[in-house]
């Protein structure tokens, strides 16, 4: 196993969470390209192994996971186009580093959902905790409830859309991508952002350093209308637009476009 070991091969497991001999449970009911399994009595590692086995080895493209029980780190690192439905809530770090899946969560997600997400879609029916979409690089993350603090921190691309309100320091050090917030925003919105766009439908408690109102363009309305239509979110409200004032960091004429090429 790859747990932290020293010269004497002593396993550090103070929290009792190491599962050195975990195997694929193979408990799913498979019907063609669809599969369902109950995660109630499975550990995080067992659930993730089951998902990988179904998607990568059994040719399943549509998985339903029952009773996820707000366990942490579920559906992380999935790099294949597929559909996954969680019939319940996820804990921390759900759907992190995914590249391709369409995930539907019929509950809420804890902190740091979709961290480093590369592409695909994640739709959350409930609320989401803090740091949602941290360092996200692509794809669409739709939260129908409200978001905690610092959502989209270090966001490098993609869309985070919430139908509710957001907490403090949303979009902190955001570098690219967009956030659409139908409700209110907490203090320090867009603090120290490099680039990207934040749309807010409600009130803004305060703007962060170098976050300024932006000029509304037809393309902004087109983008928002399209996303509301795709995800069946009804009629979008009127939004304010916020962008980077470009006074905080060292920008020159070439830097922005060069940076976008490498990100």
């Amino acid at each position: 196993m790859d747990a932290i070991t020293g010269e004497n091969q002593i396993v550090y497991d103070a929290r009792g969470l190491v599962e050195p001999d975990c195997e694929v449970p193979k408990v799913s009911k498979i019907d063609g390209e669809k599969a369902t399994f109950d995660a109630l009595d499975l550990t995080t590692r067992q659930i993730n192994l089951e998902l990988r086995w179904l998607i990568n080895e059994e040719g399943v493209t549509d998985v339903t996971v029952q009773n996820p029980g707000a366990k942490h780190s579920l559906a992380v690192g999935l790099l294949t186009r597929c559909k996954i439905t969680f019939e319940g809530s996820l804990g921390y770090f759900g759907c992190g580093i995914i590249d391709g899946p369409e995930v539907h969560i019929k509950g809420r997600v804890g902190w740091s959902a979709c961290e480093n997400m590369m592409s695909g879609t994640v739709v959350v029916e409930g609320n989401a905790g803090s740091l949602t979409g941290a360092a996200m690089r692509g794809g669409d993350l739709i939260v129908k409830g409200r978001l905690g603090a610092r959502s989209g921190i270090d966001q490098k691309g993609g869309l985070i859309l919430t139908m509710g309100s957001v907490g403090a320091n949303t979009g902190f050090m955001m570098q690219r991508g967009r956030q659409v917030i139908v409700g209110d925003a907490g203090h320090g919105l867009g603090d120290s952002m490099y680039d990207g766009i934040i749309y807010v439908g409600g009130t803004v408690r305060s703007l962060g350093v170098d976050c300024v109102p932006g000029e509304w363009m037809d393309s902004d309305a087109e983008f928002i209308d399209r996303k509301f239509r795709i995800y069946d979110l009804g009629t979008p409200p009127t939004f304010q637009k916020f962008v980077c004032g470009k006074k905080l960091h060292n920008y020159d004429n070439l830097e922005a476009s060069e940076r976008k090429l490498v990100l």
Partner: protein
């Protein structure tokens, strides 16, 4: 990291010992060092005191057992001198005891007299609050102290990953707000103006049993309430006067409150049901006692909420 949990029922007594054990055990990964409970039973006319006569870090030398007996005898002797009649006296472990007292005097006197004995510490003192804390996970502490049948109306709990002070009973949460009865606190975070507040409160005559920053919160709130402030107002003021990153829960004889700092740096997930309010650092702790789908949310930065039973 640490994990905190709270529960308050609005429809009478429930098995809060079992509820809290399930919640804390599900968050064992957040704090493997120690586990603590502040449980509120139906208030009685007697005073309930939980105390220890040795800490887990006390050397287990040849004299250890002898010191335990002498300390316990000295506690009973001092209680007698204070006219505190012992109604019941239960031995929970070799070093932890629960006594009920027929006593109408100043509770501070009891606490000061007991804690004057070397290695002795009063964990809680009041008419409904009982604080139980020890090393190990929730199931271990629950079995050790027979908490699986503890009935009451509200409770808070804590699993600790020690960062600021020793791994021992004194450093474990919850903290009783000496010398104010029936007030306790659990905390996840760090206070950066700890020494400033500790010196202020010590100058006001308060004592501290640990080097843990969290102990400040309990005494701070209790002092504000003793000056006439409500629990909610005291908690709101704490957001301005305590620096650092924190989420904490405070309980009194009839209320449970939560406060989150202005950065919302420490988590708390909340469920408000018809007859119960449950909160914890992680949703999986709430799911440990509720088996159907529920709507939960994270309170925002700078939020203070208080519920009464």
């Amino acid at each position: 990291m640490c994990g905190i949990a709270g529960i308050i029922y609005k429809d009478g007594e429930h098995n809060i010992g079992q509820d809290m054990t399930r919640m804390l055990q599900s968050m064992k990964h957040r704090g493997p060092d120690s586990t603590g409970y502040a449980l509120y039973a139906k208030p009685t006319e007697h005073v309930v005191m939980r105390y220890t006569v040795a800490n887990t870090t006390t050397p287990r030398d040849y004299e250890f057992q002898g010191r335990l007996k002498r300390n316990r005898a000295e506690v009973e002797s001092r209680l007698a001198r204070l006219d505190a009649k012992i109604v019941s006296n239960e031995k929970e472990t070799d070093y932890a005891f629960r006594v009920t007292l027929d006593y109408s005097g100043d509770l501070k006197q009891i606490a000061d007299q007991i804690e004057d004995i070397p290695d002795c510490e009063v964990l809680s003192l009041g008419h409904s609050l009982e604080i139980i804390k020890d090393l190990g996970d929730a199931e271990t502490v629950c079995a050790q102290y027979h908490l699986d049948t503890f009935s009451g109306t509200h409770a808070i709990g804590h699993v600790r990953m020690a960062t600021e002070s020793d791994v021992d009973i004194s450093g474990a949460h919850p903290y009783w707000a000496y010398p104010f009865s029936d007030i306790a606190v659990v905390h996840n975070g760090q206070l950066t103006n700890y020494f400033q507040w500790r010196r202020r409160l010590e100058r006001s005559g308060h004592r501290f049993n640990s080097e843990c920053d969290s102990e400040i919160i309990a005494v701070y709130l209790a002092e504000k309430m003793s000056e006439g402030m409500s629990l909610e107002d005291a908690m709101r003021l704490s957001l301005d006067e305590l620096d650092g990153v924190f989420t904490y829960l405070c309980v009194t004889a009839d209320a449970l409150g939560m406060a989150k700092d202005e950065m919302a740096a420490k988590p708390l997930v909340l469920f408000e049901g018809e007859n119960m309010i449950v909160m914890a650092s992680e949703e999986m702790a709430i799911r440990a006692i509720i088996d159907h789908e529920i709507d939960t949310y994270d309170p925002y930065e700078g939020e203070v909420m208080v519920w009464t039973r």
